[in-house]
């Protein structure tokens, strides 16, 4: 039994399995947790800058200016952009020609999160049980989404998610007859209800299709997409533009104190669904839309 297992591993190595040690995963995740909480991606900063110019409300412009200053202080003085350094959401794409060595992959992800939050002076916001609520004191466990893909690389995205905006997120199980108008209404309803609670200007992640959990996953994933990247389907591109415009006409504005910049972007992902359903998830993120991606 042991002999045949050993032979099998040799066979795999001969075929070119690439080995990735868990220590490399741990080190990268630790660094990504710290980076994500102190620096926003370039595309996020660019939409901030544009919004600060375009905002019509003077108070709104003042707030956007302060948020830009906040980003600068965060990076220079290494103070987290927001005190809610989030629950760590980690997307891991594992190439099927990769062999993880030295321990379990899930344990490595959690160890990386633990080291990042403890050594990086990040807030520990995770409780062990949703009812009894004892803090785990190291921000673990992470919420991990695995995907098996072709190739010999491991791609990791760390997206710390704050709960001011997470709490305002919604799933709507629409009927096929509700169509695209129903989707638009669902998005506007979620954003209106979120209002000032979700720290606008927001980034709105939307998942359409799949099942109950798949659309929520897509909405979360949509938040990590580069804001300059456009979806392939034309109607989705148009829907993103139309919804951004409609949301910005709601008047909620920066900080919810009135203005024309309620959202910085709307990112929509779609997936095939069942003949009987039209699931829509709206995952709202505040202006501190954090995500860092690395490929190992």
């Amino acid at each position: 039994m042991t002999r045949s297992k050993t032979l099998h591993c040799v066979f795999e190595r001969d075929k070119g399995m690439r080995e990735v040690d868990v220590n490399e995963i741990i080190k990268n995740i630790k660094e990504m947790c710290i980076e994500a909480n102190h620096f926003l991606s370039k595309d996020m900063k660019e939409v901030y800058d544009a919004a600060a110019v375009e905002e019509e409300s003077p108070l709104g412009r003042q707030i956007l200016g302060q948020l830009q200053e906040n980003l600068q202080i965060a990076g220079e003085d290494m103070i987290p952009i927001c005190q809610d350094t989030g629950m760590a959401v980690v997307f891991v794409k594992v190439g099927q020609e990769v062999h993880i060595t030295g321990g379990g992959l899930t344990d490595a992800v959690n160890e990386g999160v633990r080291q990042g939050y403890v050594d990086g002076y990040l807030r520990k916001s995770v409780v062990k049980d949703p009812i009894y609520r004892e803090n785990t004191k190291d921000n673990t466990p992470a919420v991990i989404h695995y995907d098996i893909v072709p190739g010999d690389k491991v791609e990791i995205t760390v997206a710390p998610k704050g709960f001011g905006s997470e709490n305002m997120s919604r799933v709507f199980m629409l009927k096929p007859a509700d169509g695209i108008e129903g989707v638009k209404e669902a998005i506007l309803t979620a954003v209106k209800d979120a209002g000032p609670n979700a720290c606008p200007p927001m980034v709105v992640g939307v998942g359409i299709g799949g099942t109950f959990e798949k659309c929520a996953f897509l909405a979360k994933k949509a938040l990590t997409r580069n804001l300059h990247e456009k979806p392939e389907k034309e109607y989705v591109r148009n829907l993103e533009e139309e919804m951004l415009e409609k949301i910005n006409r709601l008047g909620i504005g920066p900080g919810g104190l009135g203005g024309t910049k309620t959202a910085l972007a709307v990112n929509i992902e779609t997936y095939p669904t069942h003949i009987a359903g039209l699931p829509v998830a709206v995952n709202i993120c505040c202006h501190v839309n954090r995500h860092v991606t690395r490929t190992i």
Partner: protein, 182 residues
């Protein structure tokens, strides 16, 4: 309008504050969020003494990130106030005069604000690094076991907030959104 006030709050200052005013607070304020509120609420139910005096006090709904060496506090922005709505009227009836948070409040909280001549301020959500620079000292004074949710005494200097609900019950969120709604 821009105004400078001191904390604990004075009755005359509160009367002067109107929804929409941009206010800089200097003085002593206390942090408390979900878990600390729950515990204080239970303490009141048991007719025991609270760890902080409510009269004229300002509570900041905030749980900071850990301080790096040589700094009083880490990132320190507001959390969503509505989660404290269940507890706030009781604290207001005990003399609490100011709350700093972000987001909408319930009608029961608004009524308690008017009844007690208090005020609800918003700090800018997600500006935790910037706001931390206006906090000069921070000391845990109760519920240490709650970690980031412990009650802290903060000394603040020109801490920037905006009046959202004034002592007459005017709500800036409702008015401001209408103005830019197209």
């Amino acid at each position: 309008m821009e105004k400078h006030i001191t904390a604990p709050l004075k009755e005359s200052d509160i009367k002067d504050l109107k929804a929409g005013d941009y206010v800089y607070i200097t003085g002593t304020i206390y942090t408390a969020r979900d878990a600390a509120h729950k515990r204080m609420y239970e303490t009141i139910g048991e007719h025991k003494e609270l760890p902080i005096k409510m009269q004229d006090t300002v509570i900041y709904y905030m749980g900071p990130s850990p301080a790096r060496q040589g700094r009083p506090i880490g990132s320190a922005g507001p959390t969503t106030a509505s989660r404290m709505d269940k507890y706030a009227p009781t604290l207001l009836d005990l003399g609490l005069k100011g709350m700093i948070g972000k987001g909408k409040r319930s009608q029961a909280v608004k009524d308690a604000i008017v009844r007690n001549k208090a005020v609800y301020f918003a700090a800018i959500g997600g500006a935790g690094a910037l706001l931390s620079q206006r906090i000069k000292s921070s000391e845990v004074i109760a519920y240490d076991d709650l970690g980031t949710e412990a009650i802290r005494r903060l000394e603040v200097e020109d801490f920037p907030v905006i009046v959202v609900i004034d002592s007459e019950g005017t709500d800036l969120y409702e008015q401001a959104a209408k103005k830019y709604c197209k």
